[in-house]
Amino acid sequence: MKSYFSGINIHSISTALPKNQLDLRDFEKQYGEKEVNRIISSTGIQSVPVADLNQPISDFFQAAVENLIQQCDLEKSSIDGLVVVTQTPDHPLPATSTILQHKLGLSKDTIAFDINYGCSGYIYGLYQAAMLLSSGGCKRVIVCAGDLLTRCLNPKEQNVRMLFGDAVSATLVEKGDKDKELHFLIKTDGSGANYLKRENSASDSYLYMNGAKVMEFALREVPPIIEELLLLQNWKKEEVGTFALHQANQFMVRYLQKKLHLSEEAVPVAVEKTGNTGPASIPLMLSLQHKALKANAQLEKTILCGFGVGLSWGAVSCNLTETSIFDPIYL
């Protein structure tokens, strides 16, 4: 699916994480020092944020959105769209977006809905926001993307326990000048649905990941979608300041960077204290590195690319030079 929008502005980005950090060195007793060192050096992940089990994701979304509203001095009444992208909703029903609309005190004229997607989800959220705005139905949409995935991990499976962290993001998207363009490419391959899966919502059902299959998928699909978007946008690789890839782990991101023949500087990695945070990983990387990216003028031509559960993958080209990006908040 290809889609082009003009006059859509990514206004601001805020992120929220749990205060509590799980140090991966704590796994040395379980797996041995050598094994833990080996995993840390490959993934680049030293620790991951872990939310308490009694903290619902709507609390984190609320904090991220309120930070955005406060920092940007926004009127709550001006927000008329709320899109929540998560695989860890407060409840199977109702939609977390409805709970969040009430917690935030947003107008009843707000359209609020959830999207069940993971690591590609941020792109889906932005796409939905762009559609709501371009249809004329909304003027300001907040995309909340994030997961509290650590509560879905089997404590006995190191391949997932040492990879995933909890985090959320809030992104305000609004109507803007005509030169604010977004070019989307989104793709789906449900034949790989079993490679990243959680069978049902029962509390004893853990996330399953076939790491080799996911690696094969990323190698096969991510470089071509980025090449296709570059062609569509008529951008040369070296003109693009930032390729904000889904932060699966250092190994995966660095590998894709080499595969695409890109510089390390153009493909930032920020997983050391976060791990893989699913749909929040792209905005979280921007939130952690925005000062350096702005200082180096790397945000004019930006490509965001998410890939994962579904299997699904998507990319969007955008200009983030005027986007207000804030440091993460912790709760």
């Binding site: 080996r38 490959s42 790491g211 080799a212 690696m215 094969e216 190698l219 190994f251």
Partner: protein
């Protein structure tokens, strides 16, 4: 040359105790687990532009098996 470089990178990847030969059983001389397997998929793609599957690599016990797997892809593409 590609093969030499690949073997060198693979030795580092599996943390081999000594230089790998064709008959080296990977699981005995190094670490040949799911992490190594995933990394080797990327390594083969990087050196040979070949997309080996995890299942194919999981059936490889020795370095020789991996080299044979790579050659089988190359023969198909000739």
């Amino acid at each position: 040359m590609n093969t030499q470089n690949f073997i060198h990178d693979l030795e580092k990847l599996v943390e081999a105790q000594r230089p790998l030969t064709e008959n080296t059983i990977l699981d005995e001389e190094g670490i040949w687990d799911s992490l190594a397997l995933v990394s080797t998929i990327a390594l083969i793609d990087q050196h040979f532009s070949i997309k080996a599957s995890g299942m194919q690599l999981a059936s490889c016990k020795t370095l020789g098996d991996i080299i044979k797997l790579i050659h089988s892809f190359q023969e198909v593409n000739v």
